[in-house]
Structure formats: C-alpha cells, structure tokens
C-alpha cells in the first residue's frame, strides 16, 4: 500500500518535471517574415504619392511570426508598409489603426521564458512601426492591435505638413465561420419573385405589408418586432455596419458554443458569439451582427433578412434590433439575454449609430410593426416583454461617407414624440 503511494508520488514528480522541462525547452522561436506567407493576402492602396500595403496574419501565422500565441491574448498584428513618393516627410499614425494599440515591449512581456527575454524584446522592437517615413523611403512593420476575428476593418492615416491621407482597409482573416458567408444571396429568390419598386407610395405599402415580427422555426409563435428596413448595395451595407463597429457573428459550432459558455461564466468579452436563430420568410437570419458594450451581457443584437423586393434598383433588407441588458433564466432556452422592452429606443440608437459612422444618407419611418403599449406589452419568443409605437425605420446606406448635415429625412410617417 505504502510502496504504491510512493510510486504514484514519484510518477507525479516525474510528470511535473517533464512538463516543466517541456516549457523551457520550447524556447522562443519566431520565424522570419519571408517564411510565413500571409502577405499573399495583402491589399494595396495608392493616393497622391503615397502607397500603403497591408496584410493581417491569421492565428497560426501570428504565432509563427512572433513565437507567442498572440490571438489567445486577444492581440492581432497588422502588417503595414508605407512608401512615400512625395518630397516631404510623411507621418504614419498607428493610433488610426487601433486607438488602443499595444507597444512592442508590452507584447514582448507575453513571452514567459526569461532566458529569451532579450531576444523577444529585440524581435518585437525590430518588428514595430516607425512613425516617420522620409521622402523616397519605404517603411514597414507591425501594429499590435486588439483582436477582430472575421473581417479586420481599420484606417491607415498619414499626414505631412502639406497633406493628409486616409485609407480604409477591410481585410478578411481566415479562421472564423462567419454567419453570412454561408448564405448565397443570389440564390435566395428566383428573379421572377423579386418585385421592383420605384413609386414611393407603392413601396411604402409593400414595406407595411411585410410581416410584423420574427417567428420560431415552425412559423407558429411570434418573436421580436421587425423594426428596421435597410436600403442599399449589399456590399455597402456590409462595409457600413463594420465601420459602425458591429461585429459579425459566428455560426453555431461546438467550439463557438464553448467560447460563449466561457464568456457567459466570466462575463468576459467574446465578441463573436453566435446568436440564436429567428425566422422570417421561412428562413433564419441572413446576417447577424452584434455590438459589444462592456461585457457579453451588454451588447446589441441586430439581424437582417434580404427581402424579395428592390427600391430604385437597390436591395431591400428587413431586420430586427434589440439591446441586451442582462442575462435571465428562461423556460425555453435556459439562459438568454433579457432585452430592453423599449425597442424603439434601441431602433433610434441604431439610426444615430449609423449616422455618426457617416454611412447614412436618408431615413424615413413606415408602419408595419403595429403598436403595443407599455401597459399591454407584447412578448418575444423568450417571453421578454416589449412595447413600441409600431413604426419601422427605413435607412438608406450610402456608398460614400456622409456628413451628419447631409442626411435627409423623408417624411412618410412620423414617430411619436
């Protein structure tokens, strides 16, 4: 009995020792930038004598390049090369890429192997960016940003004494099964089923005739109100919501379920957790987006479905938005997010959010949701009550950036207030 215990103690000690050794023997082994092919996905933009090329390594590539699991630490390196063909110094501002960028030595501290401290610090410092790019020079390096999975959207801002430049990049990073990448928008409706509207009165009628609310999969119970209509080119809508800081959501898979469960428990920030499915036109949402506020319990959800109609040749989307204000226990889904019952407040938030992101050109209101009073609220599928003036907001998404002053209000129906 005693000898058995001794044996197991020895076994444990040997195991621990081996584990400890493995940690040391691994060392800090970053690979050269030439041997990691992430720059094959680089994007280049040129304007007024300045060229900017950028690429974003994925999770594995980042680890190969820097010898530490940066994505696990929610750090995402962005490679940027600036060529200055003007005759004065141009200043690159990493702040434009991420207002909370990390410094090279801060990242180097993630390397836990003290024997490699000097090498890690030198490696990160030499891979950082230089702010000044002198005339005729080409400078490149990494900005250590906070992690965005899916599409990485960022600005590269430069200025000189005479000029300033702003380049906006949208770079797709492999490794995340994003919701709407699974939807083939062209196959949703046969051409003959799509109605083209150009007369506003007929279009308003068609919008008001769309279903009031989402449903469950069987189409039997009614859920959240469909209080949004977006009009615009699909790619412009996609860029607009990314610019307004909405995150794409991940399709439910085993791994993403685990990630969500972990962030539920810790209240931590898993920004891409999959959202539950709601149904319109007999199918679940085409696009689901969320905008996190300070933790997973505080986020806004926003779902869109492509509608079988166009207005003035542009695609029309119907959608739903809700503000999560906490987690509650629900009968049907065990835990779900409690939504703000004042859904009109959340609808107006989206309007302002898009306006301040400079992607809105016009807006209007139409009926179709049907009013519900505070005293006699309706409920969504998880039993959360909500009340509304019954209007949907119609948002025209612009391809170019629009100043707040340029936004037009189209008078179809007026919200109460």
């Amino acid at each position: 009995m005693i000898s058995q215990r001794i044996t197991s103690i020895i076994a444990c000690a040997v195991l621990l020792f081996t584990v400890a050794l493995a940690g040391c023997a691994g060392g800090f082994e970053p690979q050269s930038i030439e041997s990691v092919p992430f720059r094959e996905r680089s994007v280049t933009k040129v304007k007024d004598g300045v060229r900017v090329t950028s690429a974003v390594p994925d999770k594995k590539e980042a680890r190969d390049l820097f010898g530490v699991p940066l994505y696990q630490k929610r750090v995402q390196p962005v490679w940027i090369e600036v060529e200055n063909r003007t005759d004065e110094s141009v200043w690159f501002l990493p702040f434009g890429v991420d207002h909370d960028y990390h410094t090279p030595l801060e990242i180097a501290a993630l390397n836990r192997k003290s024997s490699a401290r000097e090498r890690a610090e030198k490696h990160f410092l030499s891979n950082g960016v230089q702010l000044e790019v002198k005339p005729g020079e080409i400078r490149s390096g990494f900005v250590f940003t906070n992690l965005d999975e899916g599409t990485k959207a960022f600005n590269v801002d430069l200025f000189s004494d005479e000029n300033s430049w702003q380049f906006t990049f949208f770079i797709n990073v492999p490794g995340l099964a994003i919701d709407h990448h699974k939807v083939d928008f062209t196959a949703l409706y046969p051409d003959e089923d799509i109605v083209s509207y150009s007369d506003p009165a007929a279009f308003v009628q068609a919008l008001q005739d769309l279903p009031c609310c989402t449903t469950d999969a069987k189409g039997e119970s009614q859920g959240d109100p469909l209080n949004l209509v977006l009009i615009g080119d699909p790619i412009d809508i996609y860029y607009a919501v990314i610019r307004a800081n909405w995150d794409e959501t991940e399709v439910v898979t085993a791994a993403s379920g685990l990630k969500t469960a972990m962030s539920f428990i810790t209240g931590g920030e898993y920004r891409y957790s999959p959202v539950s499915s709601l149904y319109v036109f007999g199918r679940r949402q085409d696009i689901a987006l969320q905008r996190i506020r300070s933790n997973i319990h505080e986020r806004n959800h926003f779902r869109l479905w492509l509608a079988p109609m166009t207005f003035m040749g542009e695609s029309v989307w119907i959608g739903q938005i809700s503000r999560d204000i906490g987690v509650r226990f629900a009968k049907k889904t065990i835990t779900t997010h409690k939504i703000d019952p004042d859904v009109d407040e959340t609808r107006e938030f989206l309007l302002e959010n898009l306006a301040y992101s400079q992607v809105l050109s016009k807006f209007a209101y139409v009926g179709g949701v049907g009013p519900a009073s505070r005293e006699e609220p309706r409920s969504n599928l998880t039993g959360d009550p909500y009340y509304t003036d019954g209007l949907r907001v119609v948002l025209w998404i612009s391809a170019e950036l629009k100043d707040l002053q340029e936004i037009q209000y189209v008078q179809w129906s007026d919200p109460e207030g």
């Binding site: 630490k73 929610r74 501002l93 990493p94 702040f95 434009g96 207002h99 909370d100 990390h102 410094t103 090279p104 030595l105 801060e106 501290a109 993630l110 000097e118 610090e121 030198k122 410092l125 702010l131 000044e132 906070n146 801002d157 200025f159 000189s160 004494d161 000029n163 300033s164 920030e269 506020r293 300070s294 505080e298 503000r323 204000i325 906490g326 409690k338 703000d340 019952p341 004042d342 407040e345 959340t346 107006e348 938030f349 302002e352 959010n353 306006a355 301040y356 707040l404 002053q405 209000y409 919200p415 207030g417």
Partner: protein
C-alpha cells in the same frame, strides 16, 4: 436520512429564493427637485437652440434615483434643451456617450433587493426622468442621459438636429466629489515676475533646450524619467485640449507609481491619465509649469510614460518612453486638439541596447527628442496641423 436532509434543504432554499421576489424592499428615493442642479448647470446657445448641462455626483445620484448608480459605473448627466425655432429638433444621445445606457437598462442593473412593485417603480422613475429625443417648436424638455462614469472633469458633446441645421455643443464640467492634483496647484507667485523670461518666436528654442532633461527624486539626486514633451498654451486651454482628447484628471494617490517626481524643486503640478478599454495599458503625463514663457504664453514641461498590466495588479513600466510620447501626440491629433508641432532635442539619447547591457543598464531608452506642442481649446482639423521646420532632433536611434 441524508437524502431527506438534502431534500428539506433544497425545498427551504427554493422557497427562500421564490420569496425573495415578493419580500424585497420597496423602492425609495428622495423627491429632490432639480433646481439646485439647474442652478449650477452651464448653458450654451446656438441660434434657436439652448442647451444647459450638469453632471451628477455620486451622492446626488443616489438621492435622486435611490440606487447607487456610480457603483455600476453609471453617471447621470442632466440636460435641458429649449427649442425656440419653428420646426422640431432631435437630440442624439450617442453624441454624449456612444455607449450610453438606456433607462430600462439602468433599472435592470439596479433591480436586486427590490420587490416586484419596487422594480416597476424604479423603471417608471428612470423612464420619467430620461432626457427625451424630440423637442417640439417652442418647447423646453429636460432629463437625464445615463453615461459611463469618469472622475474629475467630464467632457462631452450635445448634438441637436433641426430640419435644416445641426447644432453641436461641447461641455467640460466638473464632477462633484473628486479633487485632482492640479486643483491644488496655484501658479500665482510660483515664479517672481522678473525671473520669468519671455522668448519671442523661434528664440524659445534656446530657452527650451536649457530646460532640465529629466525629473528627479525628492533629494534632487537620482535622475528619473525624461521630460519628453513641451506644451505651449494657457493652463485652461491645455486642460480643455487634454479632456477633449480623452485624458482624465487624476491625483498622485491614484497614479500608476505612488512616488512623486520632482522638477524645479517641487512635485508635479498636474497628472493626467488614460487607461485603455481593456485596462491593460495605462498612459500618464505629469506636468510642471516652466520658468519661461513663449510669446507671453505659458510653457508646460511634460513627462509621458506608459505602463502595461496584462491582468497583473501591478502595472509595469514600459522602457520605450518614446512610444509613450508618440502615443500622447497621436491622442491629441485624434482629439482634434493639436494645432502645431515642432521637434527639438532635450532629453538624453539612450540606445535600446542599454536595456540588455549589464554595465550600461538604464530603465528606459530614447531617441532624445522632445517635441513641442501647441494645443487648441477648440476642435482643430488634422489636415490643418502645422509642422514647424525647427527639426532639431538628435539623430534617430535605430
């Protein structure tokens, strides 16, 4: 036996939980009238829109709403908007805080301990006192916007849209109940008038290059950190520019390092701090008023530093002080607070190699530059920033 005990316990627990909902406390708040808040509010007028604003301190919020909103990081801002025009106006809460809390969200966060009736009363109270979005012609509406809490001074915008014009108002208001370092700083009498040399135009370069390179400890012995930026402008304008760029007032008691740094025989006159959203980065600037003026304007010497935490309770000093300096400049640029910039030398050139050299070890490294910044109290466009061609930088360190 055991099974029974468990069962009994579970039933008891279940009952207690169920009862909690019914027997929670009632909702109580002081029916404070807002006249005191209205009296101290600052007002701005633009054509036919008037806006008054005040920030509520912790005690006031607790009295007015009966719950400790500050404990949840929520700071109510009181607004009153008067529309003397002939068309409706719309207020955009996202202009005041892009992540503002909705009234019912605030209620939900503060519901625990209240009875069902108490919860409904809290909801109604918050909805009734919320700032409405629409202000009809001839109307005056007032109410609260629930923002994220800051200490010291709060800088925010109030944007109001009419059918033909938009109005943007900027406020910088003191939050009751917090005393930053600079509030105790008195520039009067600090330097005798005759000791203050005023430099005209570019002549200030020589004066600035004579300023000490680094802060020291109290005894004036150990050289501390490089004085790596200079700000020219009045204290009031500099304060506005700092707050607009997202810097927060702080006090030495709350600084990343408790020990004071010394220059001109005294500890810093003011400290400002910025903490990243994730909390892993802290930037700090300590300021001293310098014994010289530039075209009659005050000159402030600054020590910008960066600390990182990575979930540790003890932030570590980042030896890359140039990065802290450059981050600070960028923060001013994006806060639309920088008007001009010039590059000077002034601090020590310390190569990065000395970090890893046992004999030459220094706690930081730097290219030795000390930029000079002219800040703007009013928003200043990035494309208009002037870079003065002084360029007296020591050669950049590779």
């Amino acid at each position: 036996m055991n099974v029974f005990r468990h069962l009994t316990l579970s039933i008891l627990l279940g009952c207690t939980l169920a009862l909690c909902g019914c027997i929670g406390s009632a909702y109580v708040f002081e029916q404070t009238d807002v006249s005191e808040i209205r009296d101290r509010a600052e007002s701005r007028v633009d054509t036919n829109i008037r806006v008054s604003a005040a920030v509520l301190g912790r005690q006031e919020s607790q009295g007015l709403f009966g719950v400790d909103l500050y404990a949840q990081g929520i700071q109510p801002v009181w607004l009153e908007i008067e529309n003397t025009g002939s068309t409706p106006a719309r207020y955009a809460p996202v202009s005041t805080d892009s992540y503002y809390f909705s009234p019912l969200e605030v209620a939900y966060k503060n519901r625990s301990g209240l009875s069902d009736e108490g919860r409904s009363e809290l909801e109604r109270r918050l909805e009734a006192t919320a700032m409405p979005r629409y202000i009809d012609p001839g109307e005056t509406r007032s109410g609260f916007v629930f923002t994220h809490a800051v200490k010291g001074a709060k800088g925010f915008n109030v944007d109001v849209f009419g059918s033909t014009a938009s109005h943007s108002f900027t406020f910088l208001l003191r939050v009751p109940g917090f005393v930053p370092d600079y509030a105790n700083f008195d520039a009067v009498g600090l330097y005798p008038e005759k000791a203050l040399v005023d430099y005209q135009g570019d002549k200030v370069i020589a004066g600035l290059q004579d300023m000490p390179c680094c802060s020291t400890d109290k005894a004036g012995k150990d050289s501390g950190n490089p004085i790596n930026l200079v700000v020219i402008g009045s204290g009031r304008d500099t304060l506005k520019a700092l707050l607009r760029s997202g810097w927060l007032e702080t006090s030495s008691a709350e600084a990343a390092e408790a020990e004071a740094h010394y220059l001109f025989g005294r500890s810093q006159d003011a400290i400002f701090r910025y903490e990243s959203v994730g909390g892993e980065s802290i930037y700090e600037i300590r300021f001293w008023l310098a014994p010289l003026t530039s075209d009659q304007e005050e000159v402030w010497l600054g020590e910008a530093r960066h600390f990182y935490a990575w979930r540790s309770a003890f932030p570590r000093f980042d030896p890359d002080v140039d990065n802290a300096r450059d981050f600070t400049i960028q923060k001013f640029i994006y806060g639309q607070a920088l008007r001009s910039l010039a590059w000077l030398s002034g601090t020590k050139i310390v190569p990065a190699e000395s970090l890893w050299d046992r004999l030459l070890y220094t706690p930081y490294f730097s290219d030795g530059s000390r930029p000079v910044l002219w800040l703007s109290a009013e928003p200043y466009s990035v494309s208009e920033i002037e870079i003065k061609d002084w360029d007296k930088r020591p050669g950049a360190v590779e």
